[in-house]
């Protein structure tokens, strides 16, 4: 009897989308704990969680967007531009400005950048990949022009303490990332926005003939992604206490990689935010492990690329990528 239940749990685990990344994480962790004495130390876990927080925040938004059939390559540039604009605000204020206003400006910028992407895709019917490749350049350009190409100091310290630091031994930004993971999972699975995202990625025509304002919702998906990228921008700016116009390069690729590694279908329709979290942890552990083992930087790229390939290929061979 007990045996039957165990078998059922086992079956469910292996047929779930989460089994792949979980097994991969465990195997790699086991390997590292044997070959690197540093790996199992608390400071190392703090390190990993510190490193993956920003990727998680961006990737949560990307999960919802990819589920809805879109993609946003401008998130990395969005991270930088948000940071630069907030820094400019703090620097312009005689008292150093208010952190709350800074946050509102940041979220607003993120929403605006997302809305621009969304509007071009939804109303001008441009393909999302090329559209956001274009805005990636535009947003990055704005960040460079507005900052004069130099890193901007003078970030409000209260603002810095909101987005970075520690609660006990846990990095604050990691807690923020987990918080947004939960919000994102809830949004995707329990709200009408998430439901519509799934429908839109599955068959946009169905939504259209059902009289749902597809264009409006499409813009909304990009706005959500943009706002989350802006949050990541604020975290990054706080962590470094400086706004770098060249920050966030290749963040978009990391985000797309962990979304797909987590089991979300790149062609849309099915997505999992928790899977994305696992994907980000997997990528973080791999990067950390390569450092621990002292693998030269040039080889690290190669290994990370291979891990992503393996994860994506094994995920796409699964019959039902996600059971929600």
């Amino acid at each position: 009897m007990n045996d039957g239940r165990l078998r059922k749990i086992r079956k469910e685990f292996f047929s779930s989308v989460y089994s792949g990344p979980i097994i991969a994480i465990l195997v790699i962790a086991l390997f590292l704990s044997v070959f690197s004495p540093q790996f199992l130390k608390v400071t190392n876990f703090v390190n990993i969680s510190n490193q993956i927080a920003i990727n998680i925040i961006i990737a949560v938004g990307m999960t919802i967007l990819i589920t809805s059939g879109g993609i946003d390559l401008s998130v990395g540039a969005n991270v930088a531009l948000t940071g630069v604009i907030i820094a400019l605000y703090f620097r312009a204020m005689p008292e150093g400005g208010s952190p709350l206003v800074g946050i509102l400006i940041g979220i607003g910028i993120g929403a605006l950048l997302g809305a621009v992407n969304g509007a071009v895709v939804a109303y001008l019917k441009a393909p999302p990949f090329i559209t956001t490749l274009g805005t990636m350049g535009v947003y990055r350009g704005f960040a460079l022009v507005l900052s004069g190409g130099r890193p901007l100091m003078g970030i409000n310290t209260d603002f810095v303490h909101i987005f970075s630091g520690f609660i006990g031994a846990v990095p604050q930004q990691f807690i923020i990332a987990l918080l947004f993971t939960l919000v994102g999972a809830f949004l995707l699975n329990r709200t009408s926005i998430g439901r519509i995202a799934q429908c839109m990625g599955g068959n946009e025509k169905t939504l259209r003939v059902s009289g749902i304002p597809v264009e409006l919702y499409k813009v909304l998906m990009y706005v959500i992604t943009g706002m989350l990228a802006a949050v990541a921008g604020m975290v990054l700016t706080s962590m470094m206490a400086v706004a770098e116009p060249i920050a966030g390069q290749f963040y978009e690729l990391d985000a797309v990689a962990v979304v797909v590694m987590g089991g979300t279908q790149l062609q849309g329709g099915k997505g999992t935010v928790l899977g994305t979290l696992l994907g980000a942890v997997l990528l973080g552990v791999v990067r950390n492990g390569l450092n621990m083992l002292g693998v030269p930087a040039n080889y690290q790229q190669l290994f990370v690329g291979m891990i992503i390939m393996i994860a994506v290929v094994s995920g796409s061979r699964r019959k039902d990528a996600v059971q929600i």
Partner: protein, 508 residues
């Protein structure tokens, strides 16, 4: 006369549906063979088998006396048998010559394309077809439809075509263009080729065909030579036989106010034909049937009303007030609901749970704030699916895993959950089994009992006669009706659909 193709005792089943039962067909050299039958009689299946797109369950096919197996289209093409579809095989951005020689290019001694030779031969070929006015250098996209078809025929000749299957080749053509096409068809037959000609336009069929094979319900009815004694009436009689009216559940309710009125509407069909002066109305609690042959523009009419297709002229009144409906969002806001013909392509999100497919049109019913009340959603889903005799576990399955009938139920449930005043059903029972058909008909009746106005667009005469309170017919001459329930029977309806009777309706 030599026989080019001989098909004998062909059988084909789709699931439980017998599409072909012992069907024979012979195509002689130099013959234009008319293949006739109503929608669903088995014409397309038979031709798909001949062209290698479908493998028969049983039966024999001979091409030029040799028994052959046609497992894929290239098998048929190798033997010179192929379809001339209306679109698809021509590439708009290429010239006439390039299209004719696509995949069969002539190379010179250096392995380079010999443009000159191809152009010269293309011109020769077009001349031999009596179409010397087609410029071999012209882009296909710039040619009129009829000339495109002639180029398609020329292309098949280059590929070694001997038997040309043409399914409704004239549906998008003007009378003059049709004449031109007919001239070409006659020319290729004179050279000893064979043509299978499928058309709903019986005048044309009588004009051009040498022989007819008529199918009904997947069986041969007759194969006869064309002669002066045969008229449209005879052909229709062969096609429909002695029809027994089938029982459709129908409850007559007293119609209420006019919920939707369509006045002087005109629109273009997907084949580019203009349909004008569409006038009809739907009352609350009433089922209005709009019928006509496949391709006549019923779906396009439904799309125009829903704001999915551009309205050229005319007005749509909802509850007595004119509304400018230019998008489905506005249509739904004004109380219209739409069940599309293409269930899998448009009606359903196939990878999504059936339950979610049911509720996506009425999500606002299930949310508090933005949060979906999942248990409530499931309860309502169960309620409706049990009403429709769907197994409760089906609502947790992805829509792709359901049968056609159950998929249609999912789409209908979506409309039941919504609060539309008028629901447009496009081919609601197409491709679903008999049991599910009756259930869908019952549902439609239930919906009208709830004082919703129902509008059915269907090319299934039995369904239209069975469920409608009022019937309008769309044919090539225009929009005809209304006919009240009982005023039409099967024969009369078919006569109007085929344009045999120039009837104008009485009634309402």
């Amino acid at each position: 006369m030599n026989t080019l193709v001989e098909m004998k005792s062909l059988k084909k089943n789709f699931g439980g549906i017998k599409a072909l039962q012992d069907v024979d067909l012979e195509i002689g050299a130099g013959e234009i063979h008319g293949l006739l039958g109503e929608n669903g009689a088995g014409k397309s299946t038979l031709m798909r088998i001949l062209c290698g797109l479908e493998v028969p369950d049983d039966g024999m096919i001979r091409v030029e006396g040799k028994e052959v197996r046609l497992n894929k289209p290239s098998d048929a093409q190798f033997l010179g048998v192929g379809m001339i579809p209306q679109e698809l095989i021509l590439i708009d951005g290429m010239s006439v010559t390039e299209n004719i020689y696509l995949g069969y290019e002539i190379h010179n001694n250096f392995g380079v394309l010999d443009q000159k030779a191809m152009r010269a031969r293309a011109r020769e070929l077009l001349e031999s077809l009596g179409s010397e006015d087609i410029d071999p250098d012209m882009y296909i996209g710039l040619l009129p439809k009829a000339e495109q078809q002639i180029v398609a025929i020329a292309r098949r000749i280059i590929q070694g075509g001997k038997v040309f299957v043409m399914d409704e080749p004239t549906s998008a053509l003007t009378e003059k263009e049709t004449e031109k096409l007919f001239k070409v068809i006659r020319k290729i037959c004179k050279e000893g080729n064979g043509v299978v000609f499928i058309s709903h336009r019986l005048e044309e069929v009588l004009e051009i065909c040498d022989r007819f094979t008529i199918l009904r319900d997947g069986k041969n009815v007759i194969s006869i030579k064309n002669s002066a004694e045969i008229g449209k009436k005879d052909l229709i009689a062969y096609m429909i036989g002695n029809e027994i009216e089938e029982e459709f559940p129908h409850t007559v309710t007293a119609p209420g106010d006019r919920v939707m009125e369509v006045q002087d509407l005109s629109f273009t069909t997907s084949q580019g034909r203009r349909v004008e002066n569409v006038d009809f109305h739907v009352c609350a609690g009433e089922v209005v049937g709009i019928t006509g042959l496949v391709g006549v523009g019923k779906t396009e009419l439904a799309q125009t009303i829903m704001g999915l297709r551009k309205k050229l002229e005319g007005r749509i009144l909802i509850g007595g007030k004119e509304k400018n409906i230019n998008s489905p969002v506005k249509a739904v806001r004004n109380g219209l609901g739409y069940v599309t013909e293409d269930r899998r392509g448009e009606g359903l999100v196939l990878g999504l749970k059936s339950l979610y497919n049911m509720t996506l049109g009425a999500l606002s019913r299930f949310v508090r704030g933005m949060v979906i009340k999942l248990n409530y959603e499931k309860k309502i889903g169960w309620h409706y699916s049990s009403q429709l005799n769907m197994k409760p576990e089906y609502i947790n399955l992805e829509a792709r895993k359901l049968s056609g009938g159950n998929q249609q139920k999912v789409v209908v449930i979506r409309q039941m959950m919504g609060d539309s005043d008028v629901i447009l059903f496009d081919e609601p029972t197409k491709g679903i089994d008999v049991g599910a058909k009756a259930e869908i008909a019952r549902l439609i009746s239930t919906l009208s009992g709830e004082q919703k106005g129902i509008c059915i667009f269907s090319s299934e005469p039995r369904e239209i006669l069975g469920v409608s309170d009022r019937i309008y017919v769309l044919n090539n001459d225009g929009f005809i009706g209304p006919f009240n329930r009982g005023e039409l029977d099967y024969k009369k309806l078919m006569a109007i659909e085929f344009g045999e009777t120039k009837a104008t309706g009485v009634g309402a």
